[in-house]
């Protein structure tokens, strides 16, 4: 702090409350310790239901939001027919996909063709369980949360590769090739950005990372390194999500649909759902790492303002912040053209990765000399 005393650290934060996190898993185990069998089973079921419910709600809401936003970005209304302002459109579409014929190409690898969408969705659902949506709304709080998220989300690329390979279609294979190259490359940058935040907060546990921001969000506290890490993470995570401007694996106008060219009906729905839920996971991670998770927005010294902010429940804060980043990702999608494969690669290997390495070095120095607030 010696160097930066001229900058009063209390400006951007003031947290007076200490948040206590209780996860559903903790509740279950404490119930188990108290020999409360019904409580244990109840909490475990609650955890499962919560994950499944979150998945469904996200699928319905995000797909509707995307279509509605796309409509308004493009001077049209979007879905308007099913329900009030088309609010039941996603449900109707889901029903339609359920009832569709299950088409498998003749020469496809049947088992892998079925397995890919399931794997894709599974990779997503596994992450949902550890996201800290509020101090009490978290299924499991792993002590290696960040590593777990990185590991599990990278299963998604395996699903895409399998899908491209098993479809026995050259366009699918091209899409899968692109996806493999792209997602694995951008994973590096994303992980480097994650590591910067791990260095700063000194923990791999997601709830701990949030707790470490009780005196100010990392995006304010960490000088430039946090901002650079945030920008790199936003870019690389967009690439990992296969969304415009990095939607080459699908590349509708180039590859007719990329890795899911040969998928229809419910199998396609799985990929689709996984994509949208992944978008939420990415936004939730951004919020957790850089924007204080479920912490309210405080300004140091403004007590009246802070107490009003404190009235809003943490779950709403988390949802609101995530919604903003989801909106940002959708805004990207409906504005930007797509990069070319070699431009995409040079962006990662020539720009983002060197920047990421320098950034993590700087972050290490900052943490070592305690220059951050």
């Amino acid at each position: 702090m010696d160097m930066l005393d001229f900058f009063p650290s209390s400006i951007l934060q003031a947290a007076d409350t200490s948040w206590q996190t209780v996860t559903i898993a903790q509740r279950a185990s404490s119930a188990f310790r108290d020999h409360d069998l019904s409580g244990t089973i109840g909490y475990l079921l609650l955890g499962l239901l919560f994950t499944a419910g979150l998945l469904t709600v996200l699928g319905l809401v995000l797909i509707y939001a995307e279509r509605k936003l796309a409509g308004h970005f493009q001077c049209r209304l979007g879905p308007m027919r099913v329900g009030w302002h088309g609010i039941l459109q996603s449900a109707a579409d889901g029903l339609k996909l359920l009832l569709k014929e299950d088409i498998v190409p003749e020469n496809a690898d049947k088992l892998l063709h079925l397995g890919a969408p399931v794997l894709s969705l599974m990779a997503t659902v596994l992450t949902l369980a550890i996201l800290p949506l509020s101090p009490t709304l978290q299924v499991v709080d792993l002590n290696i949360g960040v590593i777990y998220v990185t590991a599990v989300t990278s299963l998604g690329v395996l699903a895409i590769l399998i899908a491209g390979w098993s479809s026995n279609n050259k366009w699918s294979l091209l899409g899968a090739m692109r996806a493999g190259a792209q997602i694995i490359s951008y994973e590096l940058s994303a992980t480097l950005s994650l590591l910067v935040m791990v260095l700063l907060s000194g923990s791999l546990q997601l709830s701990e990372i949030i707790q470490s921001q009780s005196d100010g969000w990392w995006i304010w506290k960490s000088h430039l390194v946090g901002v650079i890490a945030f920008v790199t993470f936003l870019i690389s995570t967009t690439a990992e999500l296969n969304r415009t401007p990095f939607d080459l694996p699908e590349g509708e106008s180039e590859l007719t649909g990329g890795f899911h060219t040969e998928y229809s009906g419910l199998r396609f729905a799985f990929f689709f759902l996984a994509e949208f839920v992944n978008m939420f996971v990415a936004s939730a991670l951004i919020v957790t790492l850089f924007f204080g998770g479920w912490m309210p927005f405080y300004i140091g010294g403004w007590d009246g303002f802070n107490s009003i902010m404190g009235l809003i429940p943490p779950g709403i804060w988390f949802a609101g912040k995530s919604a903003f980043f989801i909106f940002l990702l959708m805004w990207f999608r409906w504005t930007f053209p797509r990069l070319r494969i070699d431009q995409l690669m040079s962006l990662e290997w020539k720009i983002l990765l060197p920047v990421g390495f320098i950034n993590i070095f700087l972050a290490a120095l900052i943490v070592l000399f305690e220059w951050h607030f």
């Binding site: 050259k170 090739m177 415009t244 106008s253 180039e254 409906w334 504005t335 930007f336 053209p337 990069l339």
Partner: protein, 386 residues
């Protein structure tokens, strides 16, 4: 001019000559006839090395409708109604190509009112064609929104033309000896309103797409075609002009009212996709300029000088005439035996010739580049096959 056109064989051999250190195999892949960015039923056989395009072989004929053969059994007025199905985005200009050839051959007179109306309507259609081309290019580059912006503004032009002509897509308006109907009473007012509306919108187009660094990266220095190749391929229209050849029939052999209005021919400098894209943007500006000069003083007079009931024959011999459509030179060639129907009719359509420049530009680029090139050629497939 000594132009060397490399044959398919040479190209294949040169592509094989490039040294590759990895044990990769080239493979063929079908692009189309059902593919989102071939804009119709065009089929391209691609020879790929990973993502790199080694060779493109266009396969035609999927939407052949024998328009030329049907023309041999149709009177000259009937032929006009076949042309709107060729390049459906320049339907009126296609009409004009027939009308001009027949008028020249049969020495049919027109008046200034007819020519003014023809010019205004054609330029309106040129704008709406380029709007669509702009939007589709955006969509092919992965940005879906420009497509709908282009369509929004294009619909307004089709609304205006619909009032006069009655159709929104397959418009038939110009016929030998005049136009089919007089302009709608609201036509002049609405066109003026539209121009006032669209001028700022064109800047919005540029903000949305032209200024985007990703788009510039995708288009600049991609699919470069020098002037000699462009000429040897027979490319015309914006494709040729982007390669620095200021060839525009509206300037070189002015027809209609083009000789009496001021406008500039937009040309490119590098001949890459970006130039082809930008030439079209500039042409929209110039088209608006042409309409502005004509719209206020459309002379009074008849809109049709030759009665539709009158028999229309063309003196024996060969007749050819051409006009500049939104995509290039459209020529109509008639071999006449002095009867009411031609002995042989032939359309020199711009897209057919523009298509082949693809085979010169695409090899060496990526699949993404190929899509950019197809899009920048702004092909209309029914015009290729007739």
């Amino acid at each position: 001019m000594n132009v060397h056109v490399s044959t398919l064989d040479e190209k294949t051999r040169s592509s094989l000559a490039i040294e590759s250190h990895s044990e990769t195999e080239e493979y063929f892949i079908n692009m189309g006839p059902q593919h989102p960015s071939t804009h119709g039923v065009l089929r391209l056989i691609l020879k790929l090395d990973g993502e790199t395009v080694r060779e493109v072989i266009p396969v035609l004929g999927y939407i052949h409708r024998s328009i030329e053969k049907i023309s041999e059994y149709s009177t000259y007025r009937q032929i006009v109604h076949l042309t709107d199905r060729m390049d459906y985005l320049s339907a009126i200009m296609n009409n004009w190509a027939v009308a001009r050839t027949v008028e020249k051959a049969a020495e049919i007179e027109t008046n200034e009112r007819i020519e003014s109306i023809r010019t205004i309507v054609s330029e309106l259609e040129r704008i709406h064609s380029h709007q669509l081309g702009w939007g589709v290019l955006g969509m092919d580059m992965g940005a879906f929104t420009p497509f709908l912006y282009g369509f929004r503004d294009r619909e307004m032009i089709t609304d205006i033309l619909e009032e006069t002509i009655g159709a929104r897509l397959t418009m038939n308006y110009i016929q030998p000896g005049g136009v089919m109907f007089d302009i709608h009473p609201d036509f002049v007012r609405k066109v003026k309103e539209y121009l006032a509306y669209f001028k700022p919108k064109l800047d919005e187009y540029e903000d949305l797409l032209s200024g985007n660094p990703i788009l510039q990266q995708r288009l600049r220095n991609v699919g470069i075609m020098d002037a000699e190749t462009a000429l040897s391929m027979g490319a015309t229209g914006p494709v040729l002009r982007a390669s620095r050849v200021p060839y525009d029939l509206r300037k070189i052999e002015p027809y209609g009212m083009y000789g009496e209005v001021e406008f500039r021919v937009a040309i490119g400098t590098a001949g890459d996709c970006w130039d082809r894209y930008y030439v079209r943007i500039e042409e929209m500006r110039q088209s608006m300029r042409i309409i502005e000069q004509l719209i206020d003083n459309i002379p009074e007079g008849k809109f049709l000088l030759k009665k539709p009931a009158a028999k229309l024959t063309i003196p024996e011999g060969r007749h050819y005439s051409q006009i500049e459509t939104a995509r290039g030179v459209l020529g109509f060639y008639i071999v006449s035996e002095g009867k009411e129907t031609p002995y042989r009719a032939y359309f020199r359509t711009p897209n057919f010739h523009n298509l082949w420049s693809l085979t010169a530009m695409a090899p060496g680029g990526r699949v993404g580049d190929l899509v950019a090139i197809i899009s920048s050629l702004d092909l209309v497939i029914p015009d290729i096959d007739r």
